[in-house]
Structure formats: structure tokens, C-alpha cells
Assembly symmetry: C2
Homo-oligomer: 216 residues x 2
Amino acid sequence: MTKPDHLSVLDALHSTPARRRLSTEPIPDDVIWAVLDAAVRGPSGGNAQQWAWVVVRDRAIKDRIASWYLEGWNAAYGSRREEFLSAAPSELPMSPQAFLGAEHLAVHLAEAPVWIVPALLGAADSRDPLTGSSIYGAVQQLFLAAHAYGVGTNLTTLYRAHEADVRDLLRLPEDALTMCLIPMGYPDGGSWSQPRRKPVEAVTHWDEYGARRPRS
Amino acid sequence: MTKPDHLSVLDALHSTPARRRLSTEPIPDDVIWAVLDAAVRGPSGGNAQQWAWVVVRDRAIKDRIASWYLEGWNAAYGSRREEFLSAAPSELPMSPQAFLGAEHLAVHLAEAPVWIVPALLGAADSRDPLTGSSIYGAVQQLFLAAHAYGVGTNLTTLYRAHEADVRDLLRLPEDALTMCLIPMGYPDGGSWSQPRRKPVEAVTHWDEYGARRPRS
């Protein structure tokens, strides 16, 4: 197995952006197992672990889902290409550079060597916005572990207008809900840079909303 | 600031269980800032970051919410105490030891020196089970950063029958939804051990649900 670079947890937390430009180089099975074994250490309400982690490498399956994904991309973002590319910095949350990365992903999704589709069993009919508390922490663990092995990831849900089709294609149980799609691959462009975010002082409130403090 | 122990990301991913026995020792402001600054590097759909992170230290606020929490605990778990404590190992996802830890937390919640309540703006009316994809990854980053500083955390939602009351008490906007409550404190009992989970081979599927493989 490719040995992970020694990376401290604090450095990892500050240098794991979405990687959307991924090479086609295969990912060894033992890296996939190691990454999933770190993922499942994440939290699950009541430790119920009603989750399934589907590793997708079959090209026919990927092509099918990628076509649905491209539909979703075009509906949500592709049709607004000029708007995103001509926006002044910080006018939109997605920079022109991020837009181009996401567009690249939408076109090349099926070429990512491995996808992970985490699903929650019994969640198909959920209307609870807190449902994800039982899986997205584990997904974040997956992202960080992948980074330790030099593998890039990102979290997408743009396939979801075809949720039932994806569920059928992956032969998931009727009561399962896919929670996202995670393309994985060794990065081909971009860097392990700190994700650009609003300053922490701007989103932190002390005892009540609106009560700010300068960072000490 | 207490300097974080050098902890590799892979070690952290395998040794950050919910810590429910927390001391009352105060947490320095700069540790709180550092932990939140790591949290906000987590993912947010379209990088929108419609989040607010409320740091709660006011004892009156904590006492109020803790009483609602205890109601929720009793309704969901406390009333089933004997069942949990007499269950054979692996019969229920929550072991007797985990039950006692959660019970301890329910009784001592207000004594945890710091709580973080992450909220999503514009999510109050959400019925979308994928809503949490824009915050729980950041929450997991918070847990891991806290561990680097020796601070324990856990994720709870048992206050949520009183969501509107909590929102009012924290003066959150009407359209905000609290996504969980995170008690934080230096651990007082327990250890940074690997969370007990189903074996990764039992929850991993290859190209289609039900297609298993032994771990290589």
C-alpha cells in the first residue's frame, strides 16, 4: 500500500479542499479499504450505523450516472456559465476558478477511477433535515483519510433528480437513500490548499446570535 | 494557547470517539477560535456557508436548554434504562457503557464549559434529508480539531423537540435551524480509543449493493 505521508490532523483540517480535477490512475484496493475503515469511525445517531458504502468502479454504471449528473449540472449551474465566469471576486460564493473545476468534474465524472456512494438504509422517506448527522461526519473522515493517501475527493449531489434510478442501478434496497456521490482520484491539477471561507469571526456568535467578538 | 499534541490525521480519525464525561475546566478562547477555524474549512454546498456557530457559555442559557435536553433523553432513552443496561453485548447498538455515558451527559450537560450550536440559515422549513451535507462535515472537522487540543466533544440532538425555544433563546433568525448541540470539555473519564463499529467489510459493497469482498 502507498504509505500515507505524515500529515498532522490540524494540517489536514486546513488543507483538504474539494479536488475536482482527478487523474484516471487506479486506486489500489488497500487504499480504498483503509479510507473506508477511517470513514466508519465517524458518528452515527445511537451508533445505529444504518449505512452502506458502495464502491463504484464499473464503467457502465459510472457512465449512466454521469449522464444524469450532467443533466443536474446543466440545470443548476451550466446554464448560468456566463454569470459565474464574469462575476467579480466574492460576488458569488463560487469563484470562476471553482466553477471551471466543477464544470470539468461534470464532464469527466465517469473517468474518476473510484466513486463512493454512501447510503442510509431506512431513510428513503425521510423529510428530516438532521438525517445527515448520521453519515456526513463519516464522509468527512473519508475525505481526510483519502488526503493522507494523496487521493482527492469531493462531495456532489447533482445526480439526485435521478435518485430512484441510481438506487435501482446500484441495486440498493427500496428504503435506502443515497446521501451523496464522492468521486475519488489522484489529483491532476489544483493543490492541497486551505479552503477559502468567510472569516471565522464573521460566522461565530457568543451566547446569542449577533453577539460578535474579535478573535483573540 | 495549549499547544496541540502532534497527532497524525490517520491516528485522529481512528481515535476520536464521542466524549460524554467532561470536566468543568474552562477552555481558553484561543482554543475555541482554533477549533472553529478548522471547522469552517469543511464543505458547504456551492460554498454558500449559510452557517452560524453559536458558542454558548452562559450558565442560564445552558440550564434552560439542558432541562429540555433531559426531557428528550428521558423520552428516547431514559425510560428504557433497564433494557439498555441488561442487553447482551452487541444486542443493541448502544452498549451499557455507552448508555451510562449518555445518561451522565444528560444529567451533567450544563456543566460542560462550552457548547457549540451550529445552525443553518434558511433551513428552518427544510424537509430535505441531504441538508446536513452543508454542515456536518464541518462539525466533524470541529471534533477532530478539538481532539488535537485535548478537548472532548460529542454530537447530540435530543433537545430538538424544543427547537423553536432554543432558536428563540439563542436569538437565532426565524429561518435558522439548529443542526445539533456539541458539548465540549476536557475529558473526565473515557479515553481516545477507536470507536466500536461494524467491520468495514460488512458495510462495503462493490458496484452493487450486496456484492461483498473480503478485505485485502
